[in-house]
Every structure is written in C-alpha cells, then in structure tokens.
Symmetry: C2
Subunit: 326 residues, 2 copies
C-alpha cells in the first residue's frame, strides 16, 4: 500500500479509501491510484484490514453434511446473498455430531466471523454459552425454535410431517409406518417423528413402535428399512419416510422388487427432492424453501450486523407435492 501511495503521489490512507470507499476519493485521485495499483500488482491484505477495522466481512455456516443436496441449496442461497453484499461464506460440516459442530464454531469465533448460521436448534449447552458470550449474531436454520439462540429461519418440521400423515390418511391409508433419521441431537428429525405420531393420533390411529425405523440418511438405508418393515409387519399399507433420501431409496426398492406402489404400499417423503419428481410413480413429497432459507439467513445476519435487534424468527412454510406414490 505504501508503494502504491508513493507511485500515485498520495498518502497510504488515501489508497485505503480508494480501495474500500471509492466514493470518498476525488475522481482524478482515484484514477491515479488505480493506475498505480495496476502497475505495482498490489493485492489488498484483508487480514490486516480486518485487524484494524474489527470486521472480517465473513460469515460462518455449519451444515450437517455437504453431500445432501438439501443443505447445498441453502448454502447456495446464503452464499449468493452474502456475495452480493460483499461478504464471504465459510462452511463447516458437523457430520450430525454436536461436538464437531462446537469445534467448527470455535474455529469461526477465533477467525472473528461477523455472523454465524447454524443448522437446527439442538446445540451443546457449552456452545450456546460460548455464542452468547461472544456476542456474535447467530441464525438457526431449518426449524422453528421455541426459544431461539438469537434469530431463526425455517419452517415447522412438526407441522410438515403431521400434514403429510394427514394426506396419507385422506388417501385412505390406516396402517402407516415411519422411516426417519436418527433422533439424537437432531431437532428436525425429532420434530418430524413427533409430527408423525400427532398425525396418527388426530386420525384416531395409534402409533406402534414396530412401525418405526430410524436409520442414517442414505438411499440404501431407506431400501433396507422398508424391506425390514414389510417382512416384520406385512400388514402396513403405507410408509412415511421423513426425508426424500430415505423415501427414494424405499421407492427404488419397490420398483426393483416388483412391489406395486401404491398398490402394496403407498410411499411419501419430505424435502421435495428433484429425483423424487422424476420417478415412476412420482414420489409424494413436501417442498421446503431450501434456497430461501439461506437467502433469508443472510439478510437476517446482515441486519443484525447492521444493528438490528435479535429475536427475528421467520417461518417460510411448506407445500405438499402430491404424487402417484400415495
């Protein structure tokens, strides 16, 4: 920066302004400085800038996994909105492990990110304390917390799951099994399972533990769980898989085994994945505003950084996508 300043015949601080706040610099000074930057090959040192300004213009984000496209869409929304406003996105993955989440966030806090976007609302108490103490703006995504850490954006996983069970009931199904993810420290999965039970209860059906399977989000596991359900409790006439990864796996298993869907079992998922819509029969699912969750999260954080108060909770809702699988 000193070299550029010398070259352009100005003080270093003017170069700083030309780069960061060009509107505060006279037009002719600006052109001189830009030429000098060109000539010297100067690259702004963002680390030094952050140290002096006490702002990194970086946002940290934690998702369970990158390989599930539902979070990829949210990250895309986050990243685009942030980029448009001159912010950068750091991404960490927790692998559904709250301890890893904590470690990733600790790294973010050391980097002095200006804001943090988390997936879900279940976090280790120690992490909640660290976040509070740091004063960093936080937004929780993908569910509606009863008591948000700071701000939140998502939808009611409970209501979405219950609505799907209502749909299956409305189609005449009564013996509805459930395939979902592991519930440990996962508020979304927990809420979906509660939504399933609530939906059954509403219809006067009773939830049976023998109708429930919990398994990690992989296609093969959806297939395996369905096969297991059909052999152990052959009386079931529908399966609600609380994630399209599991639902698609289950549907493909039926196609492979020649089991008519919905003739033998009806199937429904959640998440509205593109692949489900391409299958035959088309998978009944629920669309969530995946990209918008990210975009809203970005807006909320930038608002908080700009001085807005905590407490914002945005509900983006959900939309039933009825398919031929149910």
């Amino acid at each position: 920066m000193a070299d550029v300043a010398r070259e352009a015949g100005v003080a270093p601080i003017t170069v700083s302004r030309a780069v960061s706040h060009p509107s505060q610099v006279a037009a002719h000074t600006l052109t001189a400085i830009r030429r000098a930057i060109e000539q010297t090959g100067y690259v702004r040192h963002a680390v030094a800038g952050s140290l002096a300004s006490k702002a990194t213009r970086c946002i940290g984000s934690v998702v369970p996994v990158l390989s599930n496209s539902i979070f990829a869409d949210t990250l895309q929304g986050l990243s685009e909105e942030l980029e448009a406003r001159g912010y950068r996105l750091l991404i960490g993955s927790s692998q559904y492990d709250p301890l890893r989440e904590q470690r990733v966030v600790e790294a973010f806090l050391e980097q002095r990110v200006d804001g943090i976007a988390l997936t879900g609302t279940t976090h280790l108490p120690a992490l909640r304390a660290q976040l509070k103490r740091s004063g960093t703006p936080v937004v929780e995504m993908w569910n509606l917390p009863t008591r948000p850490l700071d701000c939140a954006v998502g939808f009611s996983n409970f209501a979405a799951a219950r609505a799907m069970v209502r749909h299956l009931v409305s189609r005449g199904h009564r013996r509805i099994a459930y395939i979902g993810g592991p519930t440990y420290m996962n508020d979304r999965t927990q809420a979906r399972e509660r939504g399933y039970r609530a939906g059954l209860a509403e219809a006067g059906l009773k939830a049976r533990e023998a109708f429930v399977r919990r398994t990690p989000f992989e296609f093969e596991n959806g297939a395996r769980a369905l096969s297991d359900l059909l052999s152990k409790t052959p009386s079931i006439d529908a399966v609600f898989a609380a994630s399209d990864v599991l639902a698609v796996g289950a549907l493909l298993y039926c196609l492979k085994s020649g089991l008519p869907v919905p003739g033998r079992v009806a199937l429904a998922g959640l998440d509205g994945s593109p692949i489900g819509a391409q299958l035959t029969p088309e998978l009944t699912s629920m669309r969530f505003a995946r990209r918008e969750i990210g975009a809203h999260a970005a807006s909320i954080l930038l608002g908080r950084i700009g001085g807005a108060l905590p407490g914002t909770v945005v509900d983006l809702g959900f939309e039933l996508l009825p398919g031929a699988s149910s």
Copy 2:
C-alpha cells in the same frame, strides 16, 4: 492475551506459546495459563495471529457447484484431511463461470489463504497470471492437465470416456449417441467428448454431430436430451451420457415411457453415483475416487506449503461399474 498473562503471572508471549506450541511450555506454566484462559474466557484472535505469522492456515477451494454431490464428496475429503492437520477450508462456487472463478480466487488471495484447490484446468489467462504472481500453492483437481499450473490430482476424463465407449462397443452397440455437458471453458466435459469420439474412431465407427447433445447437468435435461435423440435419430441403439446426473435422468425417462433398457437403448453414465446403482436396471457407470481426490489435494497443498516443489501430478484412475443398463 495480556489479561491472561497477568492472571497467570507470565509474559504474553508465553500465553501465545501455550496456545500455539504447548510443547514448548513447562507443564506447570501450562496449567496456570489454561486456568487463566478458562477464567478470562479468552478466545485466540486468529486474524492478529495470521498477520503476525504471515500464515492463515486456510485453504481456498473452488468448485463449479455445491449441488452436485460429486464435488461434495471431494470437498468432504479435502476438509477432513485439512482439519486433521489444523487447517481450515474456504469454499467458493463458480457456477461453471470462469469469471466468477476468477473473482472467488481474487477474494482468496486477499484473504491470504495458504493454498488453493481449483476444479479443472481451464482458467482465464488473467487468473493464471495472478496465481503465478502470488506464489500461492495451487492444485488442480478432477482432470490431468498437460501443463499444470502448479500441481494436480485427478484422472483422465478422456481415457474414462473412451473406456466407456469401448465397453458399449464390446456389448455390441454400434449406433452410440452422446449426451454431455456444455463444453465452454470446461476441460472435463471437453475431454469426455473427445474420449467419446476417440472410442468411436477406434471401433471404426464415425461420430455424427446429430448423435450429440450438450446440456446443463440436471436430471430433467438428461431426459429431454434422450427424448430428443430418440425422436430425431431413432436408429440409435445406445446412449453414453458423460455424467450420471444426465444418465439417471435419461434412464428414468425410459422407465417412465416404458422404453426397454437396454432393449430399445442401452445407457451408460460416468461418475458412479449412488443413485444409479439403486435403479432397475442398474446404471452402467464409471467410479472415480471422488473423496480421494480431495484428500490428495490436501496432502499436496500441505506439502507445497511445507516447501515441496511444484509439478506433482497424481492420477487416481477410474473403475468400470458394469450394470444391466448396457
């Protein structure tokens, strides 16, 4: 840090050592400092540390998109390997736009990342120059460059595509069409298309432009391209889709339309996606070492940071996954 030092009765530099190089500090001093850190709630300021040490322990990575799981796997490998060695991963996406790639890398250079992992080998000349000038270690992933920018890890997209055509020929197919991605500034897609033509040429078959479709990587586009090929050039007896996203889309289209596979058309993809393996018929594909590409990229960059010379090019090869679709 000054507060911690006072609390522990040592100089600030000793606190710095206790945090960054604990082995250089006496055990009892260490425990005193750790207690002081606990009491004060001190969080290391990584920005200041980076400014002083001239190292950020951050690696920047550019992928075309996050939503395609093939890159997610590579990022997972990268991130895990880096994390294990105390480095952090910054992720940017180019949306297959070389200008966006350049802007993302410029941001990385301003942040003073210690190394950069790029997808592919086609980059804007201006970007190549900036990278060279910066001296930052770079690794190109997912293809084998003839002249690497610095280092590279991947496999021959050309050879993989050619091998798949050989496979289709060996199964008796002669009128083999091609569905691939857009070729502009995408060396992987270009190489796969050249591999297709080379495979045909070897077998004494001639490539016809009417047999070729280029379309963005989406399930629906694979379906649309196949439908178009079947109506315009009904004589085709096989389709090689140079990416499983497109191949799966094409296969699902056949299932929906009741076209026998491989009876009416044989189908083959590339990338070895999990979903392809679950379909009926199982999709013929090619497995690439997606995770390992990322893990190797991390090792190579850390090696370069540690002083290793540029020029490393690692070929991880590919493996044919024959399925019932061909």
